[in-house]
Symmetry: C2
């Protein structure tokens, strides 16, 4: 009768019971027809569907979640959503999760442990079914093991913590750093600097900060080990640990490049510090891919277009995001399921690596 009016504005949103009444069934039956579970006759289902359409019914997921105990929501806690590596990962996470019917609640921490703790707390209160976290600290992870029943499964992305209890999905950055060093050395370099991005320092420093995250440590250790294997070592003056900001990294790189006997090659551990190194070279009039060789972690969108095209370590970021979701979903199904993953990275040697200048 008022079928024509059903979508008029300013009507109270229809509830399940409104649909049920219009279809002349009980709420239970209406729920079954709409939810596609349990048994309903074809004709009942059609009647309910029609009623729902006429009333423009939208299920209240809040109510559904409360009753069913599953929110179909995953919380993502990330260091910096504006970083190109993380945002490609998030894109893959959103994609993979939504295919499975899950939505994503994203929080940013800027790698601050306090904000991470708070983010986890908020997400637990929102009753997410699981958590994907890029942890800010390797040692402080108590907030990540969520004790209550039902347990909230956690998967770490890109980094691990000092607990065997929490699964992670990351790349083999130790091996990747080694690959980069070997590439540089076989091009003839013996003086190789390291520009390392880390949230564990204000500004930048020459010493590795103690609180550095595992992934950062892997990259540094991997580089050092490869160097040692090749009979090389690195001077402290060639190292800088900088926060992940282009401007800060630029200053740090300038120090490296103006040291008495500067390196002829630099390994930069992420997009921001790579940009800093490139900026420093430009400012000092040093030709990249000529006087100075550079390899950077992560194949940022601009890297291949840069002059010279930048040699990079390409990490399988979309696979990493997808794998994190898949692992998390399995853990949501089965609380005892355990399975960390380490994916391989690939060196894409474009044109920012060249033999070192002959002058000595």
């Amino acid at each position: 009768m008022d079928g024509e009016m059903a979508q008029a504005p300013n009507e109270k949103a229809a509830r399940l019971i409104d649909v049920a009444r219009r279809a002349n069934v009980s709420r239970a039956t209406a729920a079954r027809a709409l939810g596609g579970y349990g048994l309903v006759t074809q004709s009942t289902r059609e009647r309910v569907m029609a009623a729902a359409a006429e009333l423009n019914y939208r299920v209240n997921e809040l109510a559904r979640s409360m009753r069913s105990g599953r929110s179909l929501t995953i919380g993502v806690v990330v260091a910096d959503i504006a970083n190109s590596f993380f945002n490609k990962a998030i894109r893959a996470i959103i994609e993979t999760a939504s295919q499975a019917g899950y939505q994503i609640l994203v929080l940013n921490t800027d790698d601050e442990i306090e904000r991470e703790r708070n983010a986890v707390k908020v997400l637990i209160e929102k009753r997410v079914d699981g958590l994907i976290v890029v942890p800010a600290s390797q040692g402080e992870y108590e907030h990540l093991v969520v004790e209550s029943e039902p347990e909230v499964p956690v998967v770490l992305l890109d980094r691990r913590v000092d607990s065997g209890e929490i699964d992670f999905v990351m790349t083999d950055d130790r091996a990747a750093a080694g690959q980069a060093i070997r590439c540089l050395v076989s091009a003839g370099h013996t003086r190789i600097g390291l520009l390392v991005a880390t949230a564990a320092v204000q500004g930048y420093s020459q010493e590795m900060p103690a609180a550095v995250v595992g992934t950062v440590r892997d990259r540094v250790d991997g580089a050092k080990a490869a160097l040692a294997e090749l009979g090389l070592s690195a001077r402290p003056e060639w190292y800088r640990f900088s926060q992940s900001r282009v401007e800060t990294a630029r200053k740090a790189a300038i120090e490296i490049l103006t040291s008495p006997e500067p390196p002829t090659a630099i390994l930069a551990t992420n997009e921001d510090v790579a940009l800093g190194a490139l900026g420093a070279a430009a400012e000092l009039g040093i030709e990249v891919g000529g006087e100075l060789s550079i390899i950077a972690f992560d194949d940022a969108p601009w890297a291949g277009v840069f002059r010279p095209p930048l040699s990079v370590i390409r990490r399988p970021v979309a696979s990493l995001g997808a794998a994190a979701v898949e692992l998390l979903l399995r853990k949501i199904e089965d609380g005892t399921y355990r399975n960390s993953q380490i994916l391989e990275a690939e060196l894409v040697n474009r044109q920012s690596v060249a033999p070192p200048p002959a002058k000595r």
Copy 2:
């Protein structure tokens, strides 16, 4: 008594009633003490707080939301979360919203209207308190006016639609494009091409697709109007409308640059197509900031470090995101509040603009 045991794993999560019992008060009183509203004596509050801490109580926001009718969640529907403009905007949105106690549910549409419709539907079902949308289409917006009571306010980001009913926060792209053209013309250019990013086309085309979004149209119209004002016109061969992918845009740019009488300058309407133009120039051995001048929309992180440093139109992306949230929050408070905003963009002329080559 079992205070020490309170955090033991595998206990059922404490509920309000558990806290209430332990503190010897009613649920209502416990809720008031915890929620910080209503009246409670100091000593009662302390007792409740202590009980909550001992039980490691976490409020169930799902239940709270259902009862209170507010989910403290905002839905964000964006074309491409991996685009540097949008992800900086999202960063600002998350920041601003979380300061006000709201969390963000993000969905990606790749500028597909069907996915946008579905995203809005899902978010409504999750009972978000409001929606920030980068709409994929200017004409199809029925799904964005959510009719039921209570109304779900919507703010458009970066784009508007053909409805006066929906508020938006965007930049004055028409003016910005005009500014870019004037900069190019005063450097001496008369042959200026346009490389336009749009989701309204597969691959790329010379004609402007009909379904192009308002922001794209603004940029093209703004450029054309400025050209006309200066007594110049543009040849169709100098125009390409390309989907927002570096590789596609590169091919389109190559066509422009190899046309019989190629332009000496190009205006690129976003990061992806700017990268395409730069890639094309490199491939053709054309020197940017010499033979070819380029201005791009959006100050991507790499733009200032590029060789030559890229001249760009810098849009106030963080302000845009923050403004969208603030507007939305006001609308959530007051359903009748209306207020669109158009922010100004700024031309940052670095070194990719130079006089055209003298040869003719």
